[in-house]
């Protein structure tokens, strides 16, 4: 039985799976945000899945993907029809998808299978349950996602900024943050 069916079988009855996409052999499963920790435990402990290794955890900002109306028009004027078609796809899927995604990259060491688990995060509810009780490896990646996107992880033992300094005002990997920065400066405070 291939991976897709197995994952469906495992997560199906509880209706965990929101969507399932395959891209160049990479299977990604979208699950509801509230049940992410349960899903991870299931994926880890179900014998015929056994995703026992958290390879990585990352955030994605879909801001540019979600507003396809403006850009394709400009580009169609420039004569890139194929581009417009590709970007219009999400529009047809109904209401605007949530702005952020958290993607978990799982790995099964026994069968060398990989799985992407995806969680959508709405802009007005930027909190996801932490994965640190399941895998300690989630510690820094979650801090980094918080640092870069501002998504909070509920129950994380030490949710501080990881790469930027503590009172950095913005979240730099958001699509609306300019590449050149906004002129933030770090003011070092020395004793005495």
């Amino acid at each position: 039985m291939d991976l897709k069916n197995r994952v469906e079988q495992c997560l199906g009855p509880e209706n965990f799976v929101v969507a399932m996409i395959e891209c160049q052999g990479d299977l990604s499963v979208e699950v509801p945000k509230r049940s992410v920790v349960d899903v991870m435990r299931l994926l880890r402990d179900t014998p015929d899945l056994g995703f026992n290794f958290l390879s990585d955890l990352l955030g994605v900002d879909n801001l540019d993907l979600n507003k396809p109306k403006k850009k394709p028009k400009k580009k169609t004027e420039e004569g890139e029809g194929a581009e417009a078609e590709a970007e219009e796809e999400p529009k047809e899927k109904g209401p605007l998808p949530p702005r952020y995604e958290v993607v978990y990259l799982l790995l099964c060491l026994e069968r060398n299978e990989r799985l992407q688990v995806k969680v959508r995060v709405e802009e007005n509810d930027m909190e996801v349950d932490t994965l640190t009780p399941v895998w300690k490896a989630a510690d820094w990646p979650e801090r980094e996602v918080f640092d870069m996107f501002g998504i909070r992880f509920k129950g994380h033992p030490n949710l501080k900024r990881l790469l930027m300094w503590d009172d950095f005002p913005a979240h730099p990997l958001r699509k609306d943050y300019p590449l050149e920065g906004q002129g933030e400066e770090r003011h070092l405070i020395y004793d005495d």
């Binding site: 891209c23 390879s55 994605v60 970007e87 590449l179």
Partner: protein, 379 residues
């Protein structure tokens, strides 16, 4: 990276003293910082802080074209740039469904294994320096210099190679590669041999490394360890064998495995891996010679790379462990999101667990043996 880190630097907490190690410290490999709460010489609490070399590589990637990002990947693990380049190229190729010609794959293998040798040489050399044994460092670094000569003469750059292109490699191996390689091989072996003689059975070296920051296999997997550090814990996992890429399934080589996951095992695993890399290069070059001289080096790739919308994750076994690239495309000429999974990022987050309760000198030994490279850690 907080302004007043807790425990606070400059103030002492009860009977303990806070020692701020780094970011400018001889043993802190570039720009790492560890705030350590110490009781005399022993470490009570260790708090690693990273980000001092953060250059926003992932943000940069979103604003460059697919090809323009290759030189940026050089700056991740600057001790071995080639696996970074190849890993990124492989991710984009996977996204576009490109099949890379075999000859190009072989050239990639040869160069990546050379880079692996160079990386391990630096790692072991620095480990020696940090433990006070200065001499092996020079033996190894002289040989690394020779490897860099090969890189330089292959594509003009020594450290930041910008090796290969999406869809293959840009240049063939020069004609006298075999000569150079045969010249280099005994040198590398001799340097390893001398290092082994100076260190491996040295009583002081054994005392300093055996049992220091030992880690169990379960803990290592839980923390996301990969590469030599995981193998030192006794888990036989190597992407070159488990998820073969670049024709690695055609080569015969051993994957060394340690037992206790301590500094000594990490050192030994790296020593053996260098020898195995030499074997792989020999086999790859043999296969390479069997290829016709005019075999293609590049797959058919459009001039402007616009992968179809989608997202893939592709990883390879870099000298430090699993180096993965998550690439998301929206169909335009710029990647929508690039996420780099640097191996030592996952390893370094377990640092407090590895060294708490040990002595200050062990902190330095452990850090060197993990081969934490600030460039790929902070991106």
């Amino acid at each position: 990276m907080n302004q007043n880190p807790t425990p606070q630097t400059g103030h002492d907490t009860g009977d303990y003293v806070t020692v701020n190690i780094g970011p400018s410290h001889p043993a802190m490999h570039g720009t790492l910082r560890v705030v350590a709460l110490t009781d005399g010489e022993s470490l009570i609490k260790v708090d690693p802080e990273i980000g001092y070399l953060h250059r926003g590589v992932e943000k940069l990637g979103e604003n460059l074209t697919y090809h323009q990002f290759i030189p940026i990947t050089d700056r991740l693990n600057y001790c071995s740039a080639i696996p970074n380049n190849v890993s990124y190229e492989m991710a984009v190729e996977k996204l576009m469904g490109i099949e890379v010609p075999e000859k190009a794959q072989l050239i990639r293998v040869i160069m990546m294994e050379l880079a692996r040798i160079a990386d391990h040489q630096v790692c072991i050399g620095i480990l020696g320096v940090d433990l006070g044994a200065f001499t092996p460092f020079f033996y190894l670094i002289i040989q690394r210099e020779e490897i860099y000569e090969i890189f330089e003469w292959f594509n003009g750059a020594r450290l930041t190679n910008t090796f290969g292109r999406i869809g293959g490699v840009d240049a063939d191996l020069p004609d006298d590669f075999e000569e150079r390689w045969e010249e280099l091989k005994p040198g590398v072996r001799k340097a390893n041999d001398e290092t082994e003689k100076l260190l491996t059975h040295n009583r002081i070296w054994m005392d300093r490394t055996i049992g220091v920051s030992a880690f169990s296999a379960e803990d290592a997997l839980n923390w996301g360890f990969t590469g030599p550090c995981l193998r030192a814990c006794g888990v036989k996992r190597d992407l070159r064998i488990d998820e073969p890429y670049c024709m690695y399934d055609k080569f015969k080589f051993e994957v060394p495995v340690g037992k206790h996951g301590d500094v000594f095992d990490r050192y030994i695993v790296r020593m053996i891996e260098m020898e195995e890399s030499i074997k792989i290069i020999d086999q790859a070059y043999k296969l390479y010679k069997e290829m016709p001289a005019d075999a293609p080096l590049m797959a058919r790739v459009p001039k402007v790379i616009k992968p179809p919308a989608g997202e893939v994750y592709s990883a390879l076994e870099s000298p430090n462990g699993e180096l993965g690239f998550f690439v998301k495309s929206d169909g335009s000429a710029n990647p929508y999101r690039i996420r780099i999974r640097p191996p030592c990022y996952m390893i370094y987050q377990a640092f407090p667990e590895l060294v708490e309760g040990e002595l200050i000198a062990d902190l330095v030994a452990c850090l060197s043996s993990l081969n934490v490279i600030a460039g790929e850690l902070d991106r």
